[in-house]
């Protein structure tokens, strides 16, 4: 049965966005007034994780609602599309609601990064791969034009997938020479400091990120951090244009805005750049849900959230049933409970992130992070006591019971997956 709902939905994403790279969460090196608005005018989730911290797999999870080991998209090279026998966000909404479904920007959900043929969506503008500097302004302008011409006769889901700060990958590639002095009149005081875990290394695993950019001096590393924040500001400016269109047209109070990123950015933690690891700098992402006037402003530091929750949440708000193939949960009941004044966060003890082309998995519980790779190496961190993940507890006798419990949870999670037929089984510890 089709259900007509009047509330619009805007799914707004950035790309390669470190969870702390916003002034709203206390970062002094960047100014992000528009993201700050999103983080302060709804529920902002602190413990939010990418389902697979690299572009294609994360987006395949968003739009299929199923994990990488189920949908088959385990790395950026996979272009086969998610499983044909599983529902996808656009076509499912088309079948079950009257929502108009519009897409602008980066797709990459197990297919090419940009496409004018996305199942269930009307694509108004694609983009330019690896050039968010130019194409984000175009993607935001097309989104803005769509919002401004909306006449209210039909509710919409507008998906706007911006590309920045992903261009930091190009900054890194183009900065190959050791830096002895700062360019552009910059002074050291202008640059962010290195993170506390910059030099931290511990036991090696096959999948553990290797130190990168060995030729870089400390100035290179700090200039890279400075550059990253400029990329973040670029996308913030474009988010401002989209929010401005919602405000100008009076749609801001009738539009649910879901804001997140596909994955994070290493930001010099462990001498690394980019992503694709289970560490927080790579796997943890911004996440907020805004519906001004309804959802109260709240900084949620407890609830575990996954990118797998996006599809069920959007479907739930649109009034569509949630297909059983969705691995995540709708966050709408949690939002409704906050509105009613009796908070009831989702009842789940952990979430799981998959990494490294199906060779590693990370299980995040309320206090701990457990990581296992297919070479049997493991990591265990107390995230409350050790948020920079510098003290591996797998050898600590006092945490043996915790380790065993987290191993069992991950095994239980793996056994519950309807694994994609092309993927090999992941060895169980």
């Amino acid at each position: 049965m089709k259900k007509g709902m009047q509330r619009n939905i805007l799914f707004l994403s950035t790309d390669e966005h470190h969870f702390q790279a916003m002034s709203a969460v206390g970062c002094p090196y960047v100014k992000t007034p528009h993201m700050d608005w999103l983080m302060r005018n709804g529920v902002a989730f602190s413990k939010s994780y990418s389902p697979n911290p690299v572009c294609g797999p994360a987006r395949a999870c968003w739009f299929s609602g199923s994990t990488s080991s189920e949908n088959g998209i385990i790395n950026n090279q996979k272009k086969s599309g998610t499983r044909a026998d599983r529902p996808k966000m656009g076509t499912w909404l088309e079948r079950h609601t009257d929502y108009r479904r519009v897409f602008a920007g980066k797709w990459h959900a197990g297919e090419h990064p940009f496409s004018y043929a996305i199942d269930g969506f009307d694509v108004i503008l694609s983009g330019v791969n690896r050039n968010g500097m130019l194409s984000d302004a175009a993607i935001a302008a097309a989104s803005e034009a769509f919002i401004r011409q909306h006449d209210g006769s039909q509710p919409y889901l507008l998906v706007t997938c911006l590309q920045q700060p992903h261009d930091i990958c190009e900054s890194i590639r183009m900065d190959s020479q050791p830096m002895r002095e700062l360019p552009y009149g910059l002074e050291e005081k202008d640059l962010p400091p290195l993170p506390e875990n910059f030099d931290y290394r511990h036991k090696e695993s096959a999948a553990f990120p290797k130190p990168q950019n060995a030729q870089w001096t400390e100035l290179n590393w700090r200039y890279y951090l400075w550059s990253y924040y400029r990329h973040v500001e670029m996308v913030d400016a474009q988010i401002g244009n989209i929010l401005g269109a919602l405000r100008d047209t009076g749609q801001i109070e009738n539009t649910l805005i879901l804001f997140t990123s596909d994955h994070g950015e290493a930001l010099a933690c462990r001498r690394a750049t980019q992503k694709n690891t289970a560490f927080d700098e790579s796997a943890r992402v911004p996440f907020s849900l805004c519906l001004p006037g309804e959802i109260p402003a709240f900084y949620d530091e407890e609830t575990l959230v996954s990118g797998l929750d996006i599809m069920p949440t959007i479907l739930d708000y649109a009034g569509a049933p949630i297909p059983p193939s969705c691995s995540g949960l709708s966050l709408k009941p949690h939002m409704d409970s906050l509105i009613s004044g009796a908070p009831q966060p989702p009842d789940r003890p952990f979430i799981v992130t998959e990494v490294q082309s199906n060779t590693g998995r990370m299980l995040r519980s309320s206090q701990y992070k457990y990581v296992r790779y297919d070479d049997d190496s493991e990591l265990l961190f107390d995230m409350d006591a050790d948020p920079l993940e510098m003290n591996d507890l797998t050898e600590d006798p006092q945490h043996f019971d915790t380790l065993v419990r987290h191993r069992a949870w991950l095994r239980e999670w793996e056994n519950a997956r309807d694994r994609h037929p092309d993927l090999e089984a992941f060895p169980c510890k």
Binding site: S171, S176, L186, M234, A237
Partner: protein, 275 residues
């Protein structure tokens, strides 16, 4: 990582075959009527030769005509190709046509403007997605509207726009180039505060292809450093910004038309390919 990769300069663009070593451009009086056309090109820095990620992305055409001794008109046409997959095809396009009336001051401050945005899909303009920006700057205040609806803009003088800076740089280079601090109204929509435009003499060099080049740089909020390369006559043949370059090219629009017609990616300049 290719150890030779470094920030773009005009000679690196020549080495990467994005600009012809024999490239020349007409010398014009910066305060006269002129038309300049730039090809927008990018390399994602994967390597020097046969870099499949290098490509033509679009064009920027500026036409200047004086109004009187204190103002001029600037007509802008910008095209940005959308790329569906690594090898094309190119079926999407974002086009901007702008008419600005500017002050003949250091930053070419806009006084009146009309900016039409168009989005093309499969060769057709998407008429249902209009985005028309109109505005004026009077008595220190900006009034602007989008699709006829007033828009709140928090911006104050000194301010400018990136298209206007292409006009202002040659005039600035011809005079006494003092550092400018200003706000940028990006595409006449996004206010970017805390911009700085300054001479960067340490980056000047004598190009083996293009002669003496002087560098002006812009840094600021929401911008990676932008380098403006001015020649010995005060013209602006190159602008580089991370992995993107604006290269003076009077065939830029024709190249975009050809790409859209043939749906074949254009990467390098022909003369270089023949070598």
């Amino acid at each position: 990582m290719d150890p030779n990769i470094q920030p773009l300069t005009p000679d690196i663009l020549a080495r990467m075959r994005a600009a012809l070593p024999s490239l020349s451009w007409p010398k014009v009086d910066p305060e006269s009527s002129w038309r300049k056309s730039y090809r927008i090109w990018e390399s994602v820095g994967m390597g020097w030769n046969d870099n499949l990620q290098s490509r033509v992305l679009g064009s920027l055409v500026l036409e200047r005509s004086p109004i009187d001794s204190s103002r001029f008109k600037l007509k802008v046409r910008s095209q940005l190709l959308m790329i569906h997959n690594p090898d094309g095809p190119y079926g999407g396009l974002r086009e901007i046509e702008a008419d600005l009336e500017c002050e003949l001051d250091a930053l070419a401050t806009p006084r009146r403007w009309r900016v039409v945005n168009r989005f093309h899909r499969h060769g057709q303009v998407m008429e249902h997605l209009p985005l028309l920006i109109e505005g004026r700057f009077e008595d220190g205040l900006i009034s602007s509207s989008i699709n006829g609806r007033p828009q709140a803009l928090e911006i104050a003088a000194p301010w400018s726009n990136e298209w206007c800076l292409f006009e202002a740089l040659p005039r600035m280079a011809a005079g006494d180039p003092t550092e400018q601090r200003f706000q940028q109204l990006h595409q006449m929509r996004s206010a970017l505060p805390d911009q700085r435009l300054f001479r960067r003499a340490e980056a000047d060099y004598v190009s083996s292809h293009y002669g003496p080049l002087r560098c002006f740089s812009q840094t600021g909020y929401a911008n990676l450093p932008i380098d403006y390369w001015v020649d010995d006559k005060g013209d602006l043949p190159f602008v580089t910004n991370l992995h993107t370059a604006y290269i003076i090219d009077d065939q830029a629009e024709a190249k975009i038309e050809r790409i859209l017609k043939d749906k074949v990616m254009l990467q390098f300049e022909k003369e270089e390919l023949a070598q």
